[in-house]
C-alpha cells in the first residue's frame, strides 16, 4: 500500500514521494497511538477541577505539580515501586536459575522416563493460571504466607517456558566445550556455570526479561494474595489508589505516569531482548 504503488524500482528508498507520504501517515498513526500517554501526562499536570473543563486542550490554567505530591503520599508509592522491582527481579532470577538447571538436566542426563517427564512438564504450559490461583490461595492461607514476598514470587517461577527455551539452545550446543572443561578437571557444576551459562547468554536474557515483565504486570494473583498497601505491587497500588480517589483525575494520572515511566525505560532498554524473545517464543519450537 506504499512505496510499491509507485514506479517499480528495485531500490525502495528511491521511490521518493510515495515513501514520504507513507512515512507521514505512519507518524500520524504513531501520534494517535501515543496519544493516551500524552493525555495521561497532560492530565497529570492539570488541576483536577479543570480536567474535563479544559476540553481538548493539553494544558490547564496552571501546571499542577502538586498532583505528583498527592499521588506520592496518598499511597506509599516508593514502597510499592520497590516491592514490584524486588518481586520482579527475584522472580526473574529464580526463574532463570531453575530453568537453566532443569534444561541442563533434561539435555545432559539420560534417565528413564525423561521424555515423558519433559512432555508432561511442557504440557502444563497450556494451563491457564486462572485454574491454579484458587488452590494456590488456599495453600498460601494454610502456610500463613498470604501477603508475603514468597507468595508473590514462588508460584510463577516454575513454569515450563524458560526450561523449554533454554533446552532448545542447549540441544544445539556442541558438547565439545564441556568435554574440554571436564578433561581439564572441572566438575559438572563448574562447567555449567563457567562454560555453558556464558554461551547461553541470549536465551537467558530473554527468559529473564519475559519473566520480569510477567511479574511486573501480573494483576490477578497479587489482587488475590495482597491485602495491604505495604505489600502491594505496582498494579495493586494503582488499583488501591483508584479505589480511594476514583474521580481525582489529576493525582490519579500523576500516579499512572509514575508507573508508566519505569515501564517505558524497561521497553527502551531491553528492546533487543524483547524482540528476540517474542520471535523465539514464536519460533522456538522449530
Amino acid at each position: 500500500m506504499t512505496a510499491d504503488t509507485l514506479p517499480r524500482t528495485t531500490a525502495r528508498r528511491a521511490s521518493g514521494g510515495g515513501q514520504l507520504l507513507s512515512k507521514v501517515l505512519l507518524v500520524v498513526v504513531g501520534v494517535v497511538f501515543a496519544f493516551p500517554f500524552l493525555w495521561m501526562l497532560a492530565t497529570s499536570l492539570k488541576p483536577t477541577d479543570e480536567v474535563f473543563a479544559t476540553g481538548t486542550s493539553l494544558i490547564g490554567s496552571r501546571i499542577a505539580w502538586d498532583n505528583y505530591q498527592i499521588a506520592w503520599t496518598a499511597v506509599p508509592f516508593g514502597r510499592i515501586l520497590l516491592n514490584s522491582l524486588l518481586v520482579a527481579l527475584l522472580g526473574a532470577g529464580l526463574t532463570v536459575t531453575v530453568s537453566v538447571l532443569s534444561a541442563y538436566a533434561f539435555t545432559r542426563f539420560t534417565f528413564r522416563g525423561r521424555a515423558a517427564l519433559f512432555g508432561g512438564f511442557l504440557a502444563t504450559m497450556v494451563l491457564p493460571q486462572e485454574i491454579l490461583v484458587i488452590p494456590l490461595f488456599f495453600m498460601m492461607q494454610q502456610l500463613q504466607l498470604v501477603n508475603s514476598f514468597p507468595a508473590l514470587i514462588l508460584p510463577f517461577a516454575f513454569g515450563a517456558f524458560g526450561t523449554f527455551l533454554i533446552r532448545q539452545f542447549l540441544l544445539s550446543l556442541p558438547p565439545d566445550y564441556e568435554e574440554a572443561a571436564t578433561i581439564d578437571g572441572a566438575g559438572r557444576l563448574r562447567t555449567l556455570v563457567s562454560v555453558i551459562v556464558p554461551l547461553l547468554r541470549a536465551p537467558i536474557a530473554v527468559v529473564f526479561v519475559f519473566s520480569f515483565i510477567e511479574y511486573w504486570g501480573s494483576f490477578l494473583w497479587p489482587l488475590i494474595i495482597v491485602n495491604d498497601a505495604s505489600m502491594a505491587t505496582v498494579p495493586i497500588g494503582l488499583q488501591m489508589f483508584s479505589g480511594e480517589r476514583g474521580t481525582d483525575w489529576g493525582p490519579m494520572m500523576a500516579a499512572v505516569t509514575l508507573v508508566v515511566i519505569p515501564s517505558l525505560v524497561i521497553v527502551v532498554l531491553l528492546q533487543k531482548q524483547l524482540r528476540q524473545g517474542v520471535a523465539m517464543s514464536g519460533f522456538g519450537g522449530r
Binding site: A115, A157, V259
Partner: protein, 317 residues
C-alpha cells in the same frame, strides 16, 4: 528415574536414550545425586506450584468451599449449577466468546496491516515503531485502563474531539454495546505490540528474491499480499491466532478496571465472573468449577483451530 547415566553429549533428543544407557553398565553404578541436584529444584517447584494446585483445583470444584471456614463435599453440584442454574455463567461465556472473536479478528487485521506497512519502510523505521507499539504491552494494565477511563468518560477528550467534528459521542462505558467496543479498543491498544513483532519477524523471514520475483511479474501490492506474503506467513498467522484467542479467553484486568464488568454485566467475562465468585461471593468451589470450564472451552477451541489449519495454513515454503 532409576537409571542415571550422565552423558557428555548434547544433541540427544528422545530416541537415543536406550542406546546410551545400554552399553554403560558401569555407568549405572555411578551416584544418582547429580541428576537430583539439577532436576530437583525445578521438579519440586513444578510439583508444588503446578501439579498439586491442578489436582487440588479438581477436588475443590467438588466442594462448597468458603474463603474461611469448613468446606463441604457437594459432588457435582457446582457443575450442575454452572450448567443449568446460573444464567450468569452462560452470559459471561457469550460475552467472552464475542470478545475473543471480535478482538482476535481486529488484532490480526491491524497487526498484519501494520507489519506489512512497517516492512515497506525499512529497518530503522520499522524497529522504532515496533518499540512504540510495544510500550502498552509492558505498562501495567490497570494504568492503561485508567487512562482509557479518563479519555472515554462522557465528557472525556474522545467525546470532546467528536463534538468538534459535530458528532455527539456515545456514553462509551455505560451503554452495553459501546462498553464492549471500548473494551476491544483498549485491548487492541494494549495488545497489538506483541503480534506486530511476531508477524514482523515472520515477514522478515520471507526471502526477498520471492518478493522481487512477484514484483517483476507485475503483481500489485494487494495481489502480492494475498498470493505471496499471506500464504508464506500463514504458519505465523496461525500461531498468532491461536495465542491471541487463548489470551482473549482469559481477559480479566481490562473489564475489571475499565468497565467493572458493566453496564448490566455486559462486559463480565468468564475470569471476572470466576474472580467475583471466588473472592467476592465467597465460593471458591464454584470458582474452581468455572476455571475448569474455562480450561475445557479454551482447549476445545484450540483443538478446533488445529483441526482447521490445513484449510488455510501452508507449511511448504
Amino acid at each position: 528415574m532409576a537409571t542415571v547415566a550422565p552423558t557428555g553429549s548434547g544433541s540427544t533428543i528422545a530416541s537415543p536414550t536406550t542406546a546410551r544407557t545400554a552399553p554403560g553398565a558401569a555407568r549405572r553404578r555411578r551416584p544418582r545425586w547429580p541428576l537430583a541436584l539439577y532436576l530437583g529444584p525445578g521438579m519440586l517447584g513444578f510439583s508444588v506450584f503446578i501439579v498439586l494446585p491442578l489436582l487440588f483445583s479438581l477436588v475443590m470444584s467438588l466442594y462448597d468451599w468458603p474463603l474461611f471456614g469448613q468446606a463441604e463435599f457437594v459432588g457435582l453440584e457446582n457443575y450442575r449449577r454452572m450448567l443449568t442454574g446460573d444464567p450468569a455463567f452462560w452470559a459471561s461465556l457469550f460475552t467472552t466468546v464475542l470478545f475473543a472473536i471480535v478482538y482476535t479478528a481486529a488484532n490480526l487485521a491491524v497487526c498484519l496491516g501494520l507489519s506489512y506497512w512497517l516492512m515497506s519502510l525499512g529497518r530503522r523505521w520499522a524497529s522504532s515503531f515496533r518499540v512504540l507499539f510495544f510500550i502498552p504491552v509492558v505498562t501495567p494494565m490497570i494504568g492503561n485502563a485508567l487512562i482509557f477511563r479518563l479519555m472515554l468518560n462522557d465528557d472525556g477528550v474522545v467525546n470532546q474531539m467528536l463534538a468538534r467534528l459535530g458528532i455527539s459521542g456515545p456514553s462509551w462505558l455505560s451503554t452495553p454495546g459501546w462498553a464492549m467496543v471500548s473494551l476491544v479498543l483498549m485491548s487492541l491498544w494494549q495488545g497489538i505490540g506483541y503480534n506486530i513483532i511476531v508477524l514482523g519477524a515472520g515477514i522478515a523471514g520471507i526471502s526477498p528474491s520471492v518478493l522481487e520475483a512477484s514484483r517483476i511479474d507485475g503483481a500489485g501490492p494487494i495481489l502480492r499480499f494475498t498470493r505471496v506474503i499471506f500464504p508464506m506467513l500463514s504458519p505465523t498467522v496461525f500461531f498468532c491466532t491461536v495465542m491471541t484467542v487463548i489470551g482473549a479467553f482469559k481477559v480479566f484486568a481490562q473489564p475489571y478496571a475499565l468497565t467493572e464488568g458493566g453496564p448490566a454485566n455486559s462486559t463480565t467475562t468468564l475470569v471476572l465472573l470466576l474472580y467475583r465468585n471466588g473472592f467476592s461471593y465467597d465460593r471458591l468451589g464454584y470458582a474452581s468449577a468455572l476455571a475448569w470450564a474455562l480450561f475445557v472451552v479454551v482447549m476445545l477451541i484450540t483443538a478446533f483451530q488445529f483441526s482447521q489449519q490445513k484449510r488455510w495454513v501452508s507449511y511448504d515454503s
